[in-house]
């Protein structure tokens, strides 16, 4: 202990400062470390020193911390990092530099939770990401970064290179460990077989010892390099007084290796070095596959993050193009996107038309047509001709940033399934340790020569790796598969709920159908021009999220009159001052401010001013892509379908008829819809509600599973568990994948349980040699992971296959 800083482990200067923690003085290397240690203790977080796996980073230079905190004050940077949430809070996701272990996680969470204004903190140790929800008005981001700096962590803006780097390092380390274990195991096995055959040939003792030392030479790097993370994990678990699967693994490896070394030195009859190297090799292989699946899930969201280009060509006031950083764009800027380039920020198309490839945003593989005035999402790729785009949203407000935030959030919270798996594994490990101790004591009494072999066999054979890997492997794989098909799972538990759904309630407008204004059926009064009426309506509707409002904006010319004193009544209509006159747009009873409305206007959307009706608009509806296929697939799967819409009876009936849905309810207010849900659920149904995620948020909140159909634009704000960004029939696929996930999970659990029940008694009786135990246990974990990788391989249609290929090629 002498000479090392208590906080960071670096060597001490001649006259070290003393940190006073809980009344005990500890020598530290610098005043920075002293301040950090004392501050941690002052916060009541001294437990950190007991929990941590390695020394902390040396306290950073205070000036550097200040500078990095100051950088976060720059509006461009904070605009990119901070995303406003629907409830008025702000959300930021940053990368943490200097994190070593779960104790760091714990320290960061506790530290930030103490700041006034922080609502929620979650740290993902694996990805080194911090997600923090805070009150942006009371607490600037720079204060949070400053607090992080004081405990010795540096926050980095979550940029692509940093993301890549973390994962690349993990991948490479895993590959090297796998390679060392593979080489070592092969060599050890070769020397061991020479030993086995040599034993029959009656080779002399010197040759035997030579080969034993060679085996030791081949095994040592495997044990100390490849198995390093298992030992580190076990030490961490023991320090935190918890049990996990690393404990029996580390114990078994240490016992076998130590026992064999003693045998070699004393010239004893048996060594098991080839078994232990093989055991480690198979364990590494299992972990490597599991890591690949985990990274694949992350890859997709990173591919999304990487979609947004770094530079943009901005059109200057004099008409020239200036290349600027994409983060410098502000709403209102005009940018030119060349053919094959990607759109730098969300915006509106200003050229006549173009085609855009949105494969990664919504899973739709063919490029879509966009006309003047239609919205383009950041990250979509312009195909065919260059496009001019007027920027409407930048940085963290863009759709793609929202989707990335959603997937990050889903990945950083642990699903119920995985938590249950971990708890079960911890209990299992406790029993295995007890059983191994009993075996050791039993054999020590009966036949001490076999005690070590039998104990090791029990430890190895019963290691609950398969058990512990089952749930995370399946869940991770399922999330990755669904993301690739345009279904974002926001709440991981939704997967489990989705599998058991018996009823699906659809909203109509914006979910099953897409409304469009019929230009030739606009009826105007008092000699007002049709286009002028559409323009006024569109001006009122601009910015509203209802699908009908969108239809107005799509039908109107690019320049719209200004609106003042805008008001809106959910589910009824909107109003405001246009050119000094007060207009109202919506259902006739709202627009005319009457309880009842004329029957000829019942079907229409009505625009009124103080003098009465100005115009009546008729709405054409077409089915959303995939609506028929989704309904067919769900009906075939035995799901009961219901339509609940706020629209008129005739229109709902028509859509229900076209889709072949027998149960439908028209003129439903949100309260009616909730009552419908309650009655369905009272009858024991598990109900999924599919809506557009914005207008029916309260209804979605009342469902077992809330699925939002986003035109990607609203996906980020949606109050839902699942967001479908592509075709509606992805819902049926999502359900199939969810069911497959659960069934594979059950298979995996059963397999792990049967395997353990069958082999542990044999091992305890000394009938399983350690090498066979190693093969059996590793094969069982591999089987679990490989089985989980099957998720999503069924019901793959050629179109999806193509989408997956395109995405991998881009990622």
């Amino acid at each position: 202990m002498t000479g090392a800083c208590w906080h960071c482990g670096e060597s001490l200067p001649p006259d070290p400062p003393q940190a006073n923690v809980a009344g005990i003085r500890h020598a530290v290397c610098c005043n920075g470390c002293r301040a950090v240690a004392e501050w941690i203790a002052d916060l009541g977080l001294a437990d950190y020193y007991r929990l941590r796996a390695g020394p902390a980073a040396r306290a950073p230079d205070p000036r550097a911390v200040k500078a990095s905190a100051a950088a976060f004050l720059r509006p461009e940077l904070s605009r990119h990092l901070v995303r406003p949430l629907a409830d008025g809070h702000s959300e930021a996701i940053v990368l943490i530099d200097g994190m070593h272990c779960t104790a760091c996680c714990w320290l960061i969470e506790r530290t930030l939770e103490r700041l006034a204004g922080v609502v929620d903190v979650s740290v993902n140790a694996g990805a080194r990401r911090l997600r923090i929800v805070f009150d942006g008005r009371a607490l600037p981001l720079a204060r949070i970064i400053d607090a992080l700096g004081r405990v010795g962590y540096r926050a980095l803006p979550l940029d692509r290179d940093a993301l890549d780097d973390t994962r690349r390092r993990e991948t490479r380390y895993a590959q090297k460990r796998l390679a060392v274990a593979g080489f070592g195991a092969m060599q050890a096995m070769m020397y061991a077989s020479a030993l086995w055959f040599g034993a029959f040939d009656g080779a002399d003792a010197a040759t035997r010892d030579f080969f034993r030392w060679l085996t030791l030479l081949a095994t040592t790097p495997v044990v100390f390099y490849s198995a390093g993370p298992f030992f580190a994990g076990a030490v961490r678990l023991v320090k935190a007084r918890r049990l996990g699967m690393d404990v029996p693994v580390a114990l078994a490896v240490a016992l076998i290796y130590g026992g064999s070394v003693i045998e070699i030195l004393t010239g004893g009859p048996d060594i098991w070095l080839e078994s232990v190297s093989m055991f480690i090799f198979f364990l590494c292989a299992g972990r490597y596959l599991e890591m690949r699946a985990r990274h694949h899930a992350g890859d997709l969201s990173d591919a999304l993050a990487r979609l947004t280009p770094v530079f943009a060509d901005r059109v200057e006031a004099d008409g020239t193009l200036l290349r600027v950083g994409a983060f410098e764009l502000v709403p209102g800027d005009r940018v030119v996107v060349g053919e094959g380039g990607s759109v730098p920020a969300d915006g509106v198309l200003e050229t006549d038309q173009c085609r855009v490839d949105e494969a990664l945003l919504c899973g739709e593989p063919t490029p879509r047509h966009r006309r003047r005035g239609e919205a383009l999402c950041a990250g979509s790729i312009v195909v065919g001709a260059p496009a001019t785009v007027r920027v409407t949203r930048v940085g963290a407000d863009t759709v793609v940033a929202g989707i990335v935030a959603l997937t990050t959030r889903a990945a950083s919270s642990k699903p119920r399934l995985a938590r249950a798996g971990e708890r079960a594994a911890a209990g299992f490990v406790a029993r295995v340790l007890v059983l191994a101790t009993c075996t050791a004591i039993g054999w020590a009494i009966v036949d001490p020569a076999h005690a070590l072999a039998a104990t090791v066999a029990v430890l190895v054979v019963a290691c609950p790796c398969a058990f512990a890997l089952a749930a995370p492997a399946a869940a991770t794989r399922a999330l990755a598969v669904l993301t690739a098909r345009g279904v974002l799972v926001v709440r991981p538990d939704a997967l489990e709920d989705l599998a058991s759904v018996t009823h699906v309630v659809f909203d109509k407008t914006g979910t099953l159908t897409e409304p469009a204004i019929a230009r030739d059926r606009v009826i105007t009064r008092r000699g007002i021009d049709r286009d002028a009426a559409v323009a006024i309506a569109a001006a009122l509707a601009q910015g509203a999220r209802h699908p009908l409002a969108r239809a107005f904006v799509a039908a109107a010319p690019a320049t719209l009159p200004a609106v003042e004193a805008r008001e809106s009544v959910a589910g009824r209509g909107i109003g405001g001052l246009v050119g000094g006159r007060r207009y109202r747009l919506g259902r006739a009873d709202y627009a005319l401010e009457r309880e009842s409305c004329p029957s000829n206007l019942e079907e229409a959307v009505v625009l009124t001013d103080a003098d009465g009706v100005v115009a009546a608009f008729h709405i054409d509806e077409r089915l959303r892509p995939g609506a028929c296929a989704a309904v067919d697939a769900l009906v075939r799967a035995g799901i009961h379908l219901t339509i609940a819409s706020g629209d008129t009876k005739a229109r709902v009936e028509a859509v229900a008829g076209r889709l072949g849905i027998a149960a439908w309810h028209a003129r439903q207010s949100p309260t009616d819809k909730l009552a419908l849900l309650a009655s369905l659920r009272a009858r024991g149904a598990r109900v999924a509600v599919v809506g557009d995620g914005v207008n029916d948020a309260p209804v979605l909140a009342g469902a077992d599973v809330a699925a939002a159909v986003g035109t990607a634009a609203d996906a980020a704000q949606a109050a839902s568990d699942i967001v479908i960004t592509g075709r509606l029939d992805a819902l049926a696929e999502a359900r199939a994948v969810a069911r497959q996930t659960l069934s594979i999970l059950v298979q995996n659990r059963r397999w792990a349980l049967c395997y353990n029940l069958a082999t542990v008694p044999l091992a305890a009786l000394g009938m399983v040699p350690p090498w066979l135990a190693a093969i059996g246990m590793s094969a069982s974990s591999l089987a679990v992971v490989v089985n989980a990788l099957r998720i999503g391989t069924v019901e793959e249609t050629p179109v999806e296959g193509e989408a997956v290929v395109r995405q991998s090629a881009l990622a």
Binding site: R172, A179, V180, L214, A809, L810
Partner: protein, 53 residues
């Protein structure tokens, strides 16, 4: 049996050589992406892949 004294150290040396070569390749990023390179010949476009500049 005397050949063993020569051959076995040789095998150990070759093994170490192979290990060093593999570590070098891993560190140079040759195993970072195991999927995309297999798909690249299938894509029609002539442009070089966007990632990993």
């Amino acid at each position: 049996m005397t050949s063993l004294v020569f051959l076995i150290p040789l095998s150990v040396l070759i093994l170490i050589g192979a290990g060093v070569a593999l570590f070098w390749a891993i560190n140079r990023g040759q195993f970072d992406d195991l999927e995309t390179p297999g798909l690249l010949p299938l894509s029609d476009s002539d442009d070089t892949p966007r990632e990993r500049q």
